[in-house]
């Protein structure tokens, strides 16, 4: 069936199978292969992109569900030859090694900072709970996100960061962590 959506600012109209996952649409139809498939259970987040400005796991969104919406991928974060502040921070802090989780991690971080521009370390770790990395042990990824936050990151995607903080989820979770349950 025909589906129309925006991908990195470009309007597209394509004929797709209903079961075509957004991640495969981006990779195979649009040729945007930064988003990767790392699991089968919506666990790892390597496929994370922004959909109308909020982070989603594109392996669990049907392309047809995204009709009329705007997708932003890692390739679309900055102009050719430039790095978005989050991308620059990842480089500065050595927040990537093999790179497989990286585009998804960066998009998740962009999404996180658009909702919580000044997160604590705990909030960063919780904000990235849906993105797995095997190489870095997360240490430098967290540093990168905190550095990007400190440097100021412009809101990406269509949605403005209206409710910037979600302190209920963040701080109570931190307490829950300390209570051990």
């Amino acid at each position: 069936m025909q589906v129309e959506l925006g991908v990195n600012g470009e309007h597209r109209s394509d004929d797709v199978e209903p079961r075509l996952l957004l991640v495969h649409y981006l990779r195979e139809v649009c040729g945007l292969r930064a988003a990767n498939v790392g699991c089968d259970t919506t666990s790892c987040g390597a496929c994370t992109v922004l959909l109308d400005g909020v982070s989603v796991k594109s392996c669990t969104v049907l392309t047809v569900q995204a009709a009329g919406q705007q997708v932003t991928t890692a390739e679309g974060l900055a102009a050719e030859g430039e790095l978005h502040p989050v991308q620059a921070a990842f480089r500065q802090e050595h927040g990537l090694q093999c790179g497989f989780c990286t585009p998804g991690m960066v998009m998740a971080a962009v999404g996180l900072l658009s909702e919580n521009p000044d997160p604590s370390e705990t909030e960063v770790r919780e904000g990235l709970e849906g993105n797995f990395c095997r190489c870095t042990g997360y240490h430098n990824i967290v540093r990168a996100v905190l550095a990007a936050a400190a440097g100021g990151v412009p809101a990406a995607g269509a949605r403005a960061a209206a409710t910037a903080r979600t302190p209920a989820a963040g701080s109570e979770r931190a307490q829950a962590g300390q209570a051990g349950a």
Partner: protein
């Protein structure tokens, strides 16, 4: 990893969705956020031949106050719920629960209606709704009917919904300022609860202690009869039928239910 083939149709209204459900029958499933259904379809544990998308129906989203209840559209995402000032003020247990589902990306897509319809006894929102004494407005061919939380969950991943019905709204009593507690015991942050407990105003609900979310009635009765929190919590596992899996056997689950019920009663999160 890839679902079996299916057809897709976007419903234009809730009524239209019902008509589609009617015409396609058992082969069709409703799709909102898809974050309960699509993972199952990708593992080929479910293979409906038609998906009816209700995820973008304005009439099924939104949060408003209606007297002493909040009315929440079934297609409202967990993220919206968690961030809602209204919910955080009047039903903070629900906002907190929604904020713990999965991870941020999942919360941006998953919906309260989808989560309740999925009826996973280990999930957050069914337990939260049970603790709060909420209900759902079910839309069917004959109109709307209200189903209390304790009557909604019929069995393991099974609701009491009839074929051709959909959850349209969720109703939650407004309890601003009331103390509440919530305990979700996990090994990793984005896991389902090994055991969960939620408590508010003498009601205690448990997750993953049986095929459906359960009330810890023996503990509630003890409390009502003047027992201390510690004494009441000792009875939290009574009447439960916990399962066994690689994370926990029955004995350990019962133990966790007692500990978590006590902590929830102590209003800890």
């Amino acid at each position: 990893m890839i679902a079996a083939p299916f057809d897709y149709v976007a419903a234009e209204s809730a009524t239209h969705a019902l008509e589609l459900l009617d015409s396609f029958g058992d082969d069709a499933k409703l799709l909102a956020g898809g974050h309960s259904l699509l993972p199952m379809m990708k593992l080929r544990l479910a293979a409906p031949s038609v998906l009816i998308d209700i995820g973008r129906l304005a009439e099924l989203t939104g949060i408003r106050a209606d007297g002493d209840e909040l009315v929440i559209g079934a297609a409202t995402t967990h993220a919206t719920l968690a961030a809602s000032d209204l919910v955080r003020a009047d039903a903070p247990l629900l906002a907190h629960s929604a904020g713990l589902v999965g991870d941020p990306q999942i919360r941006h897509r998953g919906t309260i209606g989808g989560s309740l319809a999925h009826a996973d006894p280990a999930a957050d929102l069914p337990m939260a709704l049970l603790a709060l004494g909420g209900s759902v407005e079910v839309l069917g061919g004959d109109g709307t009917r209200n189903v209390a939380a304790e009557d909604l969950f019929a069995g393991f991943f099974e609701t009491s919904l009839e074929p051709g019905e959909l959850i349209a709204w969720v109703r939650v009593p407004r309890r601003p300022g009331r103390a509440w507690g919530y305990q979700k015991f996990v090994r990793r942050a984005n896991d389902w609860a090994i055991v969960g407990a939620a408590a508010i105003e003498g009601r205690i609900a448990l997750a993953n202690m049986g095929p459906v979310p359960l009330r810890a009635r023996a503990a509630e009765q003890a409390l009502a009869g003047g027992a201390s929190v510690a004494e009441a919590a000792e009875l939290a596992a009574e009447g439960t039928e916990p399962g066994e899996d690689l994370h926990a056997d029955r004995g350990y689950r019962r133990h966790l239910a007692r500990v978590l019920a006590r902590r929830a009663l102590e209003h800890r999160t």
